[in-house]
Symmetry: C2
Subunit: 485 residues, 2 copies
């Protein structure tokens, strides 16, 4: 194969500094190489980075950070780039510090239930590497085949099973971090029930890459549950499905997962890679999984079936084997990407509400859909009230992108108005920094940015994310597809 | 009865300011009234407060804080005063803001599994008030009959059942806080899996009253488990008991509680209010509780019995009814106080280690006991590696208090040396601020005190706690008894 030799462009002084630290092969700085780094999984905003530098260890990160500080060049840490709120998207001119080469599993200690990985280690690989010994890593974002644990820490990623097992922050025991000063610090230790001092581990987790760059992560690993059973329930009325969700939780059952999809979402997943054969004329389905001690599972499944039937289910069934269970989950986890099969573009939103307010919020989302004349699919972690409205649009039709953005923002407002929140698991990033106003007062925003200043006083690390920074504006461009959760 | 009328002492200007806010009956300022506020449950250090002011609402707290700021008078929030590390103990001259009058349950929402309480609400009352509806509040420090939920938030309190259910921070959904500026803010909302921005809720919880004064708390409540069974296992060799702990966890069982007591601790509890009739010649016993779906419990109990027997248990039995189970727990929860039955004074320590290092740390504690010629009892949450060495001494014998303090500090060093931590659940307070050096570098301490400065820039709120403040020294006095965990 003939590869055209590209005309060499001389690196500028900043790029040369990066090259001095990691070598020429580890720095991208030509425009054609940078294009694919203009955004992450959130594609409504794009910006050209100044360079991308691939690092191999914490020392290199520290050295690069120190040099960029001296030049006052902003920088952003990036993992797999699957984030859905633009946390790793440049505004323009930042240096991207890519952690994908730091992808080693460093240590596993099953007896004390923990593993130590580098930040570029892919989420799913952890479970794959310990499953033969009977263990797994719980947080399972739908992008887990690609997303990295470093990115999961930055975003405090969730997943279908966070109802029972908690989100990333509940599974992090320790972090090594390069602070914006260039200093390398370790926080957290073994799996202790409490730690002295302020909870820096919790503070760093979910800080969306604005307080430090994670270079090593100690995570909890869990013993595989003894058994697992999965129920699929089809409903003609979405209110019946919502009521069933409430009653399952009220019964004292904590399912490992309790997912809901409405009819437009079903239209999507049935048109994509893993069709299950869901009826097209239902209003919604519930996908409910129970795990734990084998002896207890059947009783819980019986109770779930009873609740489903009491709430006018059209059809309800238990997966007959692992193959069927796997297909149901593959179909569900394709959810976001599947929207590409029924719409040229879509925007994923991510709000949280108290479970009991589900019917009224769904009604409001339906009104928003009518108002903006855009279809909205709903896929959600119903058990913990985490909605994902998917706003379908066509960026090639003038005005649709803007309408989609506005509709998305109104969906979040609807969540905030019932006492909920503007993100369940995707983070704030670029996408929602304006919507932070829905839930935080000026004083609360100030307290947060003061905390950022403790770690990141020059605001060179990922500026303009999470909280609006003065003097920065977002250039909104047309959006396509993101990886899912 | 004849009560001698006390000679009225005129309040000073600061006290007068407090009286102006809450009324004369709500301020203590005479020396004889202040004596019982010289320390909390940690009695190795004492200091006389300037005054104690009883507040009824957040507005009063805010007003008092503003006035004290103006006068540059330091102040401390205090709940029931059952803390074990001196978090609510004055150095001398602080105003104690007592929250015990703010003891209302404000709201219960069982459908969304939460309750809102004032900070002075007693921990156990919450479970008592909802148990008839089938719900409970999980964190259960041994002092739960007296300690307040506000204090639990400050200390991130644990308890016997935190192995399975987590510590206080895992059960807090929202807080109303009076900041040291006097501003009243709300953080957290409904039970959302993630919250945008930095995790201030996690940061405030366990901050030992140094970042703000909690005036309202939203907690999670849990559905009662369907069933519960409790095992008691007697061992002739403490290493066998330790090995059984490891094997139970390795088997994938997460008991609700997994407690251990050694022979000196047993001597104590058998001499106190709730003797069980434990043999006096064993090395240790394990108290193991399993809860959950009824159908799964018997299988787990069978496996626990098998593990115990495999590890040379002398005798193992399952509680035959709720009365027996209750007695076993009353005996265990008396643990700390029971030391008073076998020693004039004792010092409770609180360290954490990786579970697998238990035998070597116990051996080191035994050496420390010999070195200082003081008996040390061990009561611990074995499942999560949280040790409570209880150093027995007699403060009336010159030198013993000092030796007890040194022995306690060496026990913590032993924990830190195996990768553990210096507090599991009692906090740092006054007691361990020096020991923070065992686990934090100067840079890490600076990051922590910088965070304090964001909330508490004048350091008037609980100065000298958690981290050493320059210019403050601790006056060590003789110690007696604390309430337990």
């Amino acid at each position: 194969m003939f590869v055209k030799k590209r005309k060499k462009q001389k690196p500028d002084a900043v790029v040369q500094q990066l090259i001095n630290v990691v070598g020429e092969s580890e720095v991208l700085y030509l425009k054609e190489d940078l294009i694919s780094y203009e955004c992450d999984g959130y594609t409504m905003s794009k910006g050209m980075p100044r360079a991308v530098v691939f690092v191999n260890n914490a020392k290199q990160v520290s050295e690069i950070v120190k040099r960029l500080n001296k030049e006052k060049i902003p920088y952003i840490a990036r993992g797999a780039g699957t984030g859905l709120s633009g946390g790793a998207t440049p505004f323009g001119g930042e240096v991207l510090i890519s952690l994908v080469r730091m992808k080693k599993m460093l240590h596993v200690d099953l007896e004390n239930r923990k593993a130590v990985v580098e930040p570029g280690y892919v989420n799913l690989k952890l479970t794959q590497s310990i499953s033969d010994k009977g263990y797994y890593y719980a947080p399972d974002p739908s992008s887990q085949y690609a997303c990295t644990i470093g990115g999961n820490v930055a975003e405090n990623a969730g997943g279908a099973h966070c109802l029972k097992y908690g989100v990333t922050t509940n599974h992090i025991l320790g972090l090594e971090i390069v602070l914006p000063s260039g200093e390398i610090v370790e926080i957290g230790e073994e799996g202790v029930p409490d730690r002295p001092g302020y909870d820096l581990l919790g503070l760093l987790t979910g800080s969306e890459g604005t307080l430090g760059i994670v270079t090593k992560i100690t995570v909890k690993v869990l013993k595989n549950p003894e058994g697992k059973k999965t129920v699929l329930a089809y409903y003609d009325d979405i209110n019946d499905a919502s009521q069933a969700v409430s009653e399952i939780i009220s019964a004292g059952i904590i399912p490992a997962a309790l997912e809901m999809m409405d009819s437009i979402a079903i239209e999507g997943v049935e048109s994509a890679a893993y069709p299950v054969g869901h009826p097209r004329d239902i209003a919604a389905f519930l996908l409910i999984e129970v795990d734990g001690i084998a002896a207890g599972i059947d009783a819980q499944i019986d109770e779930i079936l009873t609740v489903c039937k009491r709430n006018n289910v059209r059809e309800v069934k238990v997966a007959k084997d692992e193959a069927e269970r796997g297909l149901w989950w593959a179909n569900r986890k394709m959810g976001f990407g599947a929207m590409g099969a029924i719409s040229p573009d879509y925007l994923v939103q991510d709000g949280v509400i108290p479970r009991t307010r589900l019917p009224e919020v769904l009604a409001r989302i339906s009104e928003i859909s009518k108002k903006y004349e855009l279809r909205i699919a709903n896929i959600f972690h119903a058990g913990d009230g985490n909605l994902h409205p998917l706003i379908l649009f066509d960026a090639s039709i003038p005005g649709q992108s803007e309408r989609a953005s506005k509709a998305g923002s109104e969906c979040l407002k609807a969540c905030a108005d019932v006492g909920g929140s503007i993100t369940g698991e995707h983070g704030v990033g670029i996408e929602k920094s304006a919507e932070m106003r829905f839930i935080f007062s000026d004083e609360e925003m100030a307290a947060q940015t003061d905390i950022r200043a403790v770690f990141n006083p020059e605001n060179l690390l990922n500026p303009g994310k999470l909280f609006p920074s003065p003097g920065r504006c977002v250039e909104v461009k047309q959006g396509t597809v993101g990886t899912g959760t």
